[in-house]
Amino acid sequence: MRDGVVLLKALLLSTSQRNIYRHTTDGRKQRRIIANAVGFAFLYVMIMAYCVTMCVGYGIIGMAEAVPALCALTLCALAFVFTLFKTNGYLFNFKEYDALMSLPFEPSTVAGCKFLYMYVKSLPWYASISLSMMVGYAIFARPPVVAYLAWVVLSLFLPVVPMLAASLIGLLIAKLSAGFKKTNIVQTLLMFVFVLAFFALRFVMDDLFRNNKTELVLEQMSAMTADAARSYPPAGWFADAIAKGSVPGALLLVGVSVALFAIVFRIVGQSYRSINSALRSHAAKGRYRMTAQRRRSVMGAIAFKELKRMTGSSVYMVNGAMGEVLAVFLGVGTLVIGFDRIVATVTQGAPIDAAILRPAIPLIVYFLIGMVATTTCSPSLEGKNYWILQSLPIEMKTVYQGKMLFNLCLSVPFMVFATLCLCVSARVPVLDTGLYLLLGLALCAFSTAWGCVCGIRHMRLDWENEVEVIKQGAAVVVYLFPNMFVTMGLTVLVVVLGMHIDGRLVALVLTLLATALAVISYVWVVRMAQRGSSLEGQGDAKGTASQVAKP
């Protein structure tokens, strides 16, 4: 127990921005930490405002009693997905494995502490969602004081079971891939399969619930939440504890979470050493024969390096290419099932003519393709290798151009494929298809360049684990959420505008707008690179100052 506390404390301290702030003498680093904290605070406020608004909406339509179950389901789904993406890198195959395992810790202690570390690091996100939903619930339900206390305490336990489930899947993936020669490829593929299965499950459940013949959409939503809470007992226990003051529900949630934690880490601990050993050993072939070498342009060389960086890391691959994989599924799915049927499924049979959604096709595709731009994290991913770029005769502008080229090479083909599939299925005229492709290109260019702006402005080279910059980096967060919300808003706007004015005009205006934004972002990148390319103010990969450009 004491070992666990010591280790957990050390793990948390090793990545604590507060600790870095307190002990660094580098003013720029301190300012960057403050700026990141302000940025995250803004994001928390946005998320909390969104949650409160959603709960108020539930309250207004008389469904306040569904809020606790909704909160539980939201937290659990988020905890599951976030953890699944992070197990490889945090729980398995992490950098300091050798150092930790050489110390007198039980494997189960190391694994358990790594899990708790993931939990504590994610807790502020879960807490912000939970507390804001509690406020929304309180406005309408006016529960007794004890319910607030129960809400706060029990919501701390809610993420545990889904995180354990995701960890077990992570263990399974690690165990399966450890048996293969190309562990990384197998791990990436398995991760894709599980994430896609999770997304698919949501639609299957949706379909199952809709078969309950619920007449009204609002009632259907309520029924769905209740059904989901029944299907997933911890959500039901939480809802019962809050709404009905059920003590057994509360005890079950706490007891099951703690018991499962103990059991899972007993299981994980048993094969922890062998799995990590297999994942971390690389068998060298040592049979290379020199052949003719191919020459590339400098930009091409950097783009190729980016490709190898991505394919060499399952965490990077799954996060960076998930949008592209989903776009392929959407494209193929639409061709097979039909655009009209998919629209009918998503709109739950509402009397909407699928044709009015055609102008939104490029935005729907962009929602997936532009979800994550590799340019957001690739500057930070240089990490300790940054000395290579610094000491080579490459302008920083060229480095970023190479990184942007790679993101375009990754996103554009998938965008073209998905857009064409949707257009063919929706029987979009050729001219409109061309316009949609043009808009898609402009959006990809914007996503690439804007992602790079975020990546440079929030560059962080002193990370210990790549997950810190791929999943939790300020650059990724600052890019992802506004981009997602704006795309959703634009999708609605385009549909509404398309009903009143020519859809082609709307597409053209959006193309021009996206192009202008892409150009502005690109110029911004070049300027930051030029300011960073002089040695004055340039960072040092060994941690004295990890900011390249002075934004």
């Binding site: 020199m290 070498q293 590339r296 080579l392 040695l535 103010g537 990969a541």
Partner: protein, 247 residues
Amino acid sequence: MGNRAMLDIRHYSKSYGAGKKAADDVTLSVMSGDIYGFIGHNGAGKSTTIRAVVGVLDFTDGEILIDGHSVKDEPMACKRVTAYIPDNPDLYENLTGIQYLNFVADVFGLGSAEREQGIRHYADLFEITDDLGDLIGAYSHGMRQKLAIISALIHDPKLLVLDEPFVGLDPKATFTLKEVMREMCARGAAVFFSTHVLDVAEKLCNKVAIIKQGRIIASGTMEELTEGHSLEETFLEETFLEADGDA
């Protein structure tokens, strides 16, 4: 030979927070044909100086010129003629050795035949050719060091800067590297490297500078500096004398 400054450090200073000076008014010149050793205790300021020379670290005062170009004002011109090998080369682990060498060759604009010849020559010399198809992540420390050395040599730099180059190298590779350094200097290039191994410095270098607490306390040709004593004796004497002087 020996009449053109390949590296000219003039009154270079580097401060970290709270006014602590990692390098204080460092001045030295490395001429073409020189093998220049840079010695000092741990934390004396060797790596800080070297990282400023190769453009990895910015600096507050002074000027550093490489082949007549200012590191501050013309970093690209300086980097085109320089090669750097850090003490602990963190290389791109997801690239294979050959991919990394091609990456560096692309950056320096080497043609296909030229790079193939260079890679083949140095990879054979350091006995790493068979391993070039493997991921760098699978390399030992010594192999990474060899790969970093090869990447530094294939573009035929005028100035080779190395930070503790012999750490982690096997005896054969150490011997090869020393030979390569001598050949480079015979062709008119210059080598500037830091080391703790005083025996190696004494046998290899024609010039040496001793740095202590960020300041150069002695520099010159090996003969001038040692005056018939061993470099180890001279180093200890100089550093102790300084310590006595400080006291």
